[in-house]
């Protein structure tokens, strides 16, 4: 490995970090909002809402993320919806995030001891009240580890946006392949940047887990 090439590659690849991080952030925010809505639909009494949430999860967790991205990028224009590569990628990532995080939120809520809602009902609380004050805070503890796990997966998967021509880090790396015929060094740099980013997320997730854990 040629360390000069490594150092030259760093700024070239780092230019794509902004796109990587902003795709990650947008998809996480939009996807989590969608996930919350889906989880509540799934737990609601209305059958059509339940079915919609189940169908959504089944569909978007059943097919590869790359198919979603390609669909948003190649197929939507046929329907008259023309998105920039960046927006197409965010759409795909948000749908993926919503489908996966909805499952995390739902299983967190149903994992809370049913005795908790029974006790709340016996105390005369309304469902809206005890869901918000009793159930959700307890479910949160169960949700945090898989939620942050999915977030880390999302960050890594933003690299797939290179296949729909978003100029993020992996695309800029491939540009070095074709311009300089160098492979080991740019791949090494790209890998290290991702490893650093996911490690930071890992540390954050451990801190969040501590913050929400039960005081004993």
């Amino acid at each position: 490995m040629d360390w000069d090439v490594v150092w030259e590659s760093v700024p070239l690849i780092w230019k794509g970090a902004g796109a990587t991080v902003s795709m990650f952030a947008w998809a996480l925010v939009i996807g989590t909002a969608g996930a919350l809505a889906l989880a509540l639909m799934r737990l609601s009494a209305a059958k059509p809402l339940q079915w919609f949430a189940i169908g959504f999860g089944w569909l978007f967790r059943g097919i590869p993320l790359l198919i979603l991205l390609f669909f948003a990028f190649f197929a939507l224009p046929e329907l008259g919806i023309l998105l920039s590569p960046f927006l197409a990628a965010i759409l795909g990532f948000s749908l993926w995030t919503a489908a996966y995080q909805a499952e995390v939120i739902r299983s967190g809520i149903i994992a809370v001891d049913p005795g908790q809602s029974e006790a709340s009902e016996a105390l005369g609380m309304t469902k809206a009240h005890y869901m918000r004050r009793i159930i959700f805070p307890q479910g949160l503890r169960i949700m945090v580890p898989p939620f942050t796990g999915n977030a880390i997966t999302l960050l890594k998967q933003t690299s797939l946006a290179t296949l729909v021509t978003v100029p993020e880090m992996a695309l800029l790396t491939q540009r070095i392949f074709s311009n300089n015929f160098k492979f080991v060094e740019p791949i090494f740099v790209l890998g290290m940047i991702y490893l650093a980013m996911t490690s930071v997320l890992l540390i954050v997730s451990v801190a969040v887990e501590r913050a929400v854990s039960l005081k004993v």
Partner: protein, 217 residues
Amino acid sequence: MEWDWGIVGRTFDLLLLGTRLTLVLFFFSSLLGTVLGLVLALMRMSRFRLARWSSLFYIWVFRGIPVLVILFFAFFVVGRRMGLTSVQAGSLGLGFSAAAYIAEIIRAGIMSVDPGQSEASEALAMTKRHYMRRVILPQSIRVIIPTYMSNSILVLKVTSVAVAIGIVELTGITRQLSNSTTRPIELFTAAAVLYVFLTTVIVVVQEVLERRFALKT
């Protein structure tokens, strides 16, 4: 615009060819991932610090880096030096990536076995090697199957990333066909249906295995 679902029928042979390649990647990466994952899991629980640390390091690196980057490395670096075909390099990269996740699944399964089981085995003077094989691993299988199988669904879907190194598996062939026929909606829908079919097969296999390994009560 007009639909032309006939395109799916006319290109179905090619879609199946892509599906076959997807299954090849899935099979070899699962095989490599499982064997290597078991080794990593056992190293992780070894008495030797070096073994524990190397396993931990491997898992940290391979879980911290996108599959795409691992495939780049497998194809452009390892594959070129060793003269591998793209499918060989792709299976290697996907397998090494899967191993990091499977190792954690196997470890969690082993840890979930009641510590009383190894204590009872020790009290009966069994060697660790013996009771791991006869007592602990058979019981951990039950816990491992559900998570292992849902991970297999991810492994199957992740094979699609292999388009990035020029492998024309199901996603790759679909992209090519949609470019040449300008029928992306119909073709990507067909690909999605094929993927959902394959993941459903995995779910069915999971059900069967769970029943097969259930404890007799």
